[in-house]
Amino acid sequence: MRRGLLLVGHGSHLNPNSSAPVYQHAERIRQCRIFDSVRTAFWKEEPALARAFDGWDAEDVTVVPVFIATGYFTEQVIPRELGLCGRVSRVDGRLVRYTGAIGAHPRLADVIVERAREAGAGPETAVAVLGHGTPRNPNSERNIYLQAERVARRGLFRDVVTVFLDQEPNMRDVLRFTNAATVVIVPLFVADGWHVDETIPEELELEGPDTVRDGRRIRYAGAVGTHPSLAEVILHAAEEAAGWA
């Protein structure tokens, strides 16, 4: 049986970087040769979600949404556009396994830890897991808290706090949530783009990856979604789905 993997991204009409991590992870996974074919599809780029299976000879396809939040896109838009009816569906005669948002996967905490360590986090450091969040959708915060708790349970850092771009607790107050001399902010976003590269550094008045403020240090890590090891998390999610009947 020919096995396929479909990575689904949001994509953007305005930001060319939005889809880059999805392409990069797809290429890494292609090189592993675990699947007979690996495709990508996007809500706002091409191939469109609604045409993702066109002409595909894979008979057993695992769909992994490269989304941080579990919510509107992963529970409504993607299933609707792909014609799915649950975690296992039949679409045009092929078996389709649908994992949840990669943002909920337990192994994503490993990537957050790697990003934090790359930015200098250690036992005396606080780590701030930064999510988008929005007051319009209470679900959008769920995976951010979930992953921050997983990181905290490992006991690797002095403190692990959760902050948001667009809701409380807000990232502007990050230094109030810990007494650590150094705080490493890890953006739990899929892509380096408008928020990670522009709005967050501007709003926090960061001077680069390392900012000293009131005698304390703020280090700014890269986006979690662009880390090469996210491909391993995607593969774990796909392996788990392979056991579903």
Partner: protein, 224 residues
């Protein structure tokens, strides 16, 4: 439509696809060329290198729509064989060869604008309120900026290398959302700004927005 492209690949004959030209080289290889524009430079046959090139127009504007006219020129890619050729074409025009094959076989699933708008939700639900005249106008404006031929709008391609489009794209859906709002607010067309983002239809200088608003104004005068 499209049979000539598929036949040309099989028979190793030169062909066009959208704004690309391809020609056989040596025993098995191919060369894919962008539009003529100055001294061509070679680009490696790697998806990331090709995307870095074709996702921006000559002004450096992001091209979110692969078929948007104005593919940057002055480059070529050497492909080892037909498989690499197909990968390069897929990178520039996703699913184009799949849709050409399905269209030639008569198996291409076609979905129209009414059905595509009816299934939208969230911030795009309002797009379904666009009037029939607005839908026709939006299709005319957006699809004329694209090399894909909208089968779903009844178009029948005449140009060699035409790519069949089986379903309205996300750019057109997004445009219909804005057009539905313009039917309420009736903004006036502004001066085109060639630097305006291709698919940011809230920007007053956006050329597609203004083409639509100008056509809307002309049609309204015609009815008056």
């Amino acid at each position: 439509m499209g049979v000539e492209v598929l036949d040309a690949i099989a028979a190793r004959r030169p062909f066009r696809l959208g704004e690309l030209r391809a020609e056989p080289e040596g025993d098995r290889g191919w060369v894919v060329r962008g539009p003529d524009n100055g001294e061509p430079r070679e680009v490696p046959a790697e998806a990331s290198a090709i995307r870095a090139l074709v996702r921006f127009d000559a002004r450096g504007r992001y091209r979110p729509l692969s078929g948007a006219r104005g593919l940057p020129g002055g480059w070529f890619v050497r492909c080892r064989d037909a498989a690499e050729l197909e990968w390069v074409l897929e990178t520039v025009y996703p699913l184009a060869l799949v849709h050409l094959r399905q269209h030639a076989e008569g198996s291409l699933r076609v979905v129209g604008l009414d059905a595509a708008l009816a299934r939208q939700s969230g911030r795009y639900a309002v797009a379904a309120e666009l009037s029939p005249e607005g839908r026709r106008r939006a299709t005319s404006v957006v699809c004329s900026a694209c090399v894909r031929v909208p089968l779903w709008a009844g178009a029948r391609p005449a140009e060699p290398g035409a790519i069949p489009c089986p379903e309205p794209c996300s750019v057109l859906i997004s445009f219909c959302r804005e057009a539905a709002l313009w039917e309420r607010e009736r903004p006036a067309p502004a001066t085109d700004d060639p630097a305006a983002p291709f698919a940011d239809f809230e920007v007053e200088g956006n050329p597609l927005r203004n083409a639509y608003l100008r056509a809307q104004t002309v049609e309204a005068r015609g009815r008056a």
